[in-house]
Amino acid sequence: MKQFFYRSRQTAVGAVLLALIVLLIIPGIARAKLKSTIGGMFLPAIGVSSVGNNVIGVLSSKSLNPVQDEVNDQAIDSDLKLENIHLRAENLRLRAAADWGLRVPWRTKLAQVIGRDSFNWWRRVKLNLGSQHGIRSNQPLVSIEGYLVGRITEVGLKTSWAVLLGDPNCRFSALIKSSRQQGGIVSPRRFNSNYRIVELTYLPNDIEVRPGNLVVTSGLGGAFPKEIPVGQVEDSWLSRDGLYLEAKVKIHADLNRLEEVRILTEY
């Protein structure tokens, strides 16, 4: 029997074909579950790898002058706190003057990027937080500096996948900050190996789009909250049919070097 299993060519081909047919005919939900389960087989390796990284990080972060570092960190921290208090007070004053309702304060969760898509034709990252930590599909991702990075697409128990800006599956509405003209951010039509380039399309053809114009999320569609910085315009041109304008946008966040991100859990 064992000889038959290992030697028979027909069995080998049959097994692969059978597996492929089963994968084709099972429903999409079952396929997604199976994918998530098989992806979960890498959790032990992720655990070992992150422990190793932490050890290396602890060993390499030993500063020559730890006291000075601590003083610097505290100074930066207190500066940021002061600035935050000042901005909050200003914001409250302006909202009161304009009779504007209070915005729901954003709540974020810090997540670590632990993996990336195996193939170069997708832009996705794997995060170390999952449904166990309150992560849900379609929650927006921002960088530590507050720039838009992407959104959550698949959520597992302990990990989740997020699609990054520039991926064909990450399209959303955005606007040019100065002129308030709306368009849609899409993946570059001509493939660009530069992770920081996306396209802003469907802009009205009678406006002026200049290099350096800032692009922010429009809040339309509900995918992302309003006014999250996305990037700045580098170049613009009229579409082939002349009906709308398109622009090349260089995004603020360096997606190739993402290590930590913030997931907006309430916004």
């Binding site: 692969v16 084709l24 493939f191």
Partner: protein, 186 residues
Amino acid sequence: MTFRISKMLLLLIGAYFLTFIQSYWHWPRLLLGFQPDLTPAFLVFVGMTMGAGYVSSMALATGLWLDSLSANPFGISVFPLFFVGWVVFCVREKIMTREFMAQIYLGTIASLIVFLFQLILLRMFSANPMIGWEMVFWSLLNAFFCGLFVPLFTLSHKAFGRWFSHPSYEPNKWLDNNRQIVRGKD
């Protein structure tokens, strides 16, 4: 545990780490600009040195693991990997698989075939990946890496064989030539 099962386990562990490294080690992407995919080289090596069961098992495991760590439709990588492994397995008696250069050519061609097959299948499943001329350049570079890794896999396989199995008995070879009694004149 029989040698055959332990060999299968060893291969599975190898395939597991190969796919894991591809997704979780980020430095090749920073260094080269793209993530190399060495699984075609692995399947060529399996096709060259092992049986049909190994080829199908490795194609299934590697393909499913790769797709589970990607936005690809699940199972799409299995067929291209199986195809190259199977073709090499079927023609290995007719080609010079022991030659270093032949192994490099096999790995290079296999990588390009897998890349093309994957793209065709993605289009067939109406997935819309990012494709451009730079991607073609990356695939050529990746094919070169795959070519280099086939002899490397073969060498490491030989080394494992030396370390973990008994030396094979060859009736016409003496372990120590000094102990051989040479008969005949002079």
